[in-house]
Assembly symmetry: C2
Homo-oligomer: 137 residues x 2
DNA sequence: TCAATATATGAACAGTTCTTCAGATGAGCA
DNA sequence: TGCTCATCTGAAGAACTGTTCATATATTGA
């Protein structure tokens, strides 16, 4: 997870980089999403690129949960979970509902939910295809 | 992108962490994918979490391309592209076809292709909803 | 064989990320 | 009010990531 994509300056036009299939390059460049959109997308994937956060989000797929249960489910310290949730909150992937001194988190981002569902379906699918991998490494 | 998930030791049973909704915690834990699968999934998301690699992969969605054209399309140095492709190759996300001194890369992983399609659809969709975002930041 | 070209690689550095620890905040309760 | 509990936060260090520069490999054509 990082940021870059500063206008992806026109290296092609500048002739700084040589090209083999020029029309193809132009066409693909045409369809390439804008720099900011790419950065945003990469950032979302970055949020999903940590096993700890992945566990939290998968747990939240089925409904809201409080911080301490999330810590138990994901096998992380409550501090680590809190930090992770803060990051996810900052990106509006989850939201918190406070009830007394507890905080209940829920998955708020439909796009992330789809990505998680897809990933989950994939692991279950490959599990079915390659059962020799018993998942315990 | 990192690795962890060492057996996610049974903090629940150890009573090291207190739990509010015990049955819920048990049920979610039951459905949680195995540690290795989670690590693998996180790793895939990690591969997609860099704008540069994202550009390369999006370019490859439409067919194979040589390294120099990928550099042109993605606005990166050829060295950076080569390093990125090596990483993607190591994870079998892309494969190389060599023709003379050129190397043509293609997207090889169906799961990654689906994730990219989904992400692409999402940016196009939000583009349609929020046209005020012109993508130039 | 030699030079030029396309890609690959290694090492090193800067920047980022994750975890941990210590302490802060703030709600509930005696 | 003072105490406990659930969560949050900041700072610090270790580990990781991405880029660059220099150089290596390998193929083509002269």
């Amino acid at each position: 997870m990082n940021s870059s994509s500063d206008e992806q300056s026109s290296a092609v036009d500048d002739c700084a980089i040589r090209v083999v299939d020029a029309p193809r390059v132009a066409a693909v460049r045409e369809r390439m999403p804008a720099g900011q959109d790419l950065d945003d997308t990469a950032e979302v994937f970055g949020l999903l690129s940590d096993p700890g956060r992945l566990r939290l989000l998968l747990a939240l797929l089925e409904g809201e949960m409080c911080v301490c249960d999330l810590a138990a489910v994901s096998g992380q310290s409550e501090s680590a979970v809190s930090h992770a949730l803060r990051l996810l909150r900052a990106h509006r992937v989850v939201t918190a509902r406070r009830a007394g001194r507890m905080a209940f988190y829920r998955l708020e981002d439909a796009h992330v939910r789809m990505l998680l569902d897809l990933a989950l379906a994939h692991t279950e699918h490959t599990q079915a295809i390659h059962p020799e991998r018993d998942g315990n490494h």
